[in-house]
Assembly symmetry: C2
Homo-oligomer: 418 residues x 2
Amino acid sequence: MRKINDYSKSHAEFLRAERVIPSGIYGHQGPAEGCYVPVEAFPLFSSRAKGSYLWDLDGNRLIDYMCAYGPNILGYHDPDVDAAAAKQRAISDCTTLPNTVMIDFAELLVETVATADWAFFAKNGNDVTTLAVMVARAFTHRKKIVFFKGYYHGVSPWTQKIDYAGVIEEDVMHNIYVDWNDFDALERVFAENRGEIAAVIGQPYMHGNFADNALPAKDFWQKVRRLCTAESSVLIVDDVRAGFRLDLAGSDHYFGFEADLICFCKALANGYNVSALCGKDFLKNTVSSMSYTGSYWLSAVPFAAGIACIEKMKRINCPRLLNEKGTKLKEGLIAAAESFGFDLHVTGAPSLFYLRIADDPSLRLHQEWIAECVKRGIFFTNHHNHFINASLSDEDIRETVEVAAEVFEVLRARHPKG
Amino acid sequence: MRKINDYSKSHAEFLRAERVIPSGIYGHQGPAEGCYVPVEAFPLFSSRAKGSYLWDLDGNRLIDYMCAYGPNILGYHDPDVDAAAAKQRAISDCTTLPNTVMIDFAELLVETVATADWAFFAKNGNDVTTLAVMVARAFTHRKKIVFFKGYYHGVSPWTQKIDYAGVIEEDVMHNIYVDWNDFDALERVFAENRGEIAAVIGQPYMHGNFADNALPAKDFWQKVRRLCTAESSVLIVDDVRAGFRLDLAGSDHYFGFEADLICFCKALANGYNVSALCGKDFLKNTVSSMSYTGSYWLSAVPFAAGIACIEKMKRINCPRLLNEKGTKLKEGLIAAAESFGFDLHVTGAPSLFYLRIADDPSLRLHQEWIAECVKRGIFFTNHHNHFINASLSDEDIRETVEVAAEVFEVLRARHPKG
């Protein structure tokens, strides 16, 4: 039997954090939004990270399947990306005038991403999803935006829900929500709002929280593409989470269509702080007309890191590699579950797998399984997709499946069948 | 006579940039919004930076008074900040769980900033001004926000103007604009919107573009503070630009009042990518209730840099130092102008001085003077405040004043006194 992790130091530090930081740790890296249920099962702070591992304050090593919620695609401290960043850092980073590495990075994205005729850089996914919506509104002179239910496009008021704190009705009054994969509903919405829809914004597939992830139905995106073209609406793909894990040319390319605007962040530079909006030529002048910038947006180090990251992802054929690793893990986990009579659903792309034990609709059994895996050094989390990184080894996958099986056995003993 | 800079390489690279990046260089670092008039006078890309200097692609060294539009407060590549960042980088940066350096940074801000009972970290000034407004709306259950005309609070739709591309009327319909320093107007606005004003948001003094910068009138902020308290509205200070250049305890403290929320970015970590919202205890639970985060927001390296930056700013009494350097420069520039019969206005805080030659209301004479200074290696820009950094030497100031005088002489020869 594996050792059960102790998290005393993590939890003591959390008390210190709560005194000076709202929520102690906010956002998806914190125990609340991160769905660390029960919180006792999870470490809360890391002391260091390398490859596919992180170490917590209590000295536990964990195989990290959250990958900083996406940015870690090549492995923490990838030597090639870090070397490129260090080389640029010795010259300049955040200066009054940009370094030409910005142009090199834009050229590389234009060469790599199918739908990219240009690139605009910012810092958060939220910066570029917001810019995309503003560009669509400016270009079409329309206000309405269609979302697919279950979406996440950042934290700006326009993309939050009306019942969220700080959001007012005017922020979201032109938002229209349709079910994912329901093309008929989308068509109806266009018919009812003829000439008023500025954009459709969607993730490349439904990788939302608290629900099995769902790939696009056959021809769904192709029909959406044709409808947007026919209605002169802008088609925005939010590839912040899935970007570069399915296809280096963009997840729209992976699913066989072309977005007008595509948003990248996370895996773009292996954790260095940069995001990008890429798009088609017909929208370039509109972007140029916007007043949109930030203090650090033209910093050079993340551009150098991004170039090294994309070049390495090409060299190792990263999406194929992640798919192979993810598929191996998926098959191992499902087999382990079956051995003890559990019905584990593994959905979404294998490189961004979503886990759910379907035997208990209350999800408490699922949470119990996740908790016991985490306590044994496998960092999964509840109700959010996971991420594969390129440094994850066969040995890591073997260890993960072994722990998963051990925990299924423990759970079966606690909850005997029938 | 000084050498006149050539910018052939910069301008050739700009043509390459324009092909793959909207505007070539967007935002305040680009020739359009950066007011590089005439653009031929300005370099457009930097090759490296150190202390108070940047070098452009054509090998010209410039004394940089824009300081990356604020972040450079200690000098480019400050050895103490860079060492702290490097030490943290060797351990971890962007990981699934935060490093406890986040707590240390929050504790240091709470100890340093007068109005800070807590700190919340993000990436852009815009992230924290947006959060501040959302917190005010969530706390007060009101919608209206009062701005001071000439403000800049970032690029989110709520803070842009109705005639800006991509902004719709619903984004700004609850914005109320009053003249800076006009307390009577503010009182009228409160009387006309009783119980409806969520917040007043203001920069600590009017350091807007295209106008002489204006310090607060006597007792202005104290009256605003009392009014906000009486009306249960939240008082937000946007200290993104001026923060730490006037007072390490916050610019509200410098002007003798206490904000409820204060926004920092730029000088917070000498160019490392971090921003912070700090505030009073009564708003902490509201912040905790928000859904607000981003991919890199808990990255450890900028926190380590921020700690080193604040500690060094304390050690060298940075605001006093910058004020002394800025005052010396201001006096030198005004004297140089006077020698040749020009009326140079230097307004705002000396550490964030704003320049305007008042002899020609069309501002063309001013632009001509700026252009000729830049061409001789002094990086000023038009119609935006400048920034002093701690590494600016007496020799740099002497050289700047010499160049300024030489250019005034050139201008007087071109434009003999009527």
